[in-house]
Symmetry: C2
Subunit: 130 residues, 2 copies
Amino acid sequence: MTQFRSGCPIASALDIIGDKWSLVIVRAMVMGATSYSDLLSTPEKISTNILAERLRRLEDAGLIRQSLPRQGSIRGAYALTARGAALIPVVQELARWGETQIPDRWTPPERFYAARPGDFDVRDGDAAAD
Amino acid sequence: MTQFRSGCPIASALDIIGDKWSLVIVRAMVMGATSYSDLLSTPEKISTNILAERLRRLEDAGLIRQSLPRQGSIRGAYALTARGAALIPVVQELARWGETQIPDRWTPPERFYAARPGDFDVRDGDAAAD
DNA sequence: ACTTCTCACTTGCATTTTGCAAGTTAAAAA
DNA sequence: TTTTTAACTTGCAAAATGCAAGTGAGAAGT
């Protein structure tokens, strides 16, 4: 599995999600993306091989999981696990930093900052009905 | 300068500090590192060329700066700018994530979590006397 | 004054990661 | 039954990372 550079929680976290794409994927999933094509259609234009590899790594690291395919679809939807959802405060702080420190960035929608780790990892039954 | 993948503040932040080393350097500086050799002696064992290049990039991005060399030293000490210090909440959340989600990580000292952006970027005069 | 040491890097080169473009496979739609 | 679409895989070029060794300038020792 991942070799950690040290016992430091920050360095170790970066050994897992310290790249240009992992937290972009987490952001997209916080915003509701669940399929491979949802993730491909983000404005950042991730390439297909990188997305596939990142999804594999995030799954191996236990941050996301693929639910069992429902009938009428070949593959299951991706969802954040509790561990992955625990990154929400990190991406929110990153968003605040980007908004305040980099000129002309978009303002994320309210519901992005309102998201809480507990809103995810529903374990079973996709009870996301309104 | 940096080319941003999109207007998203998260993706743009990652375009600047989305790698394995930048936030490790910020962490070390929050903990008091000010010289090249301070930064080299962190437990993560960054190699010299990477450190030099990262320092250059962080300086170009306005996150750190090198103060004017005092007499008796050839180069000035590195310090976080206000923009760099604004990353403190990000590294703190990352630390919380690492501590709670990865087994057997070190517990950062109190003063790490107590650090506030306002404690840095003293602008002039190194008034860090006890 | 002259050699030695240390600090802050630079350079060369191998390895790994990232990125683009095109191809594949299976199921859903026409 | 041909065509689309969704979810990838493969090949190869380019960029980032990492190791080891080298450099230059001021500080320290003698």
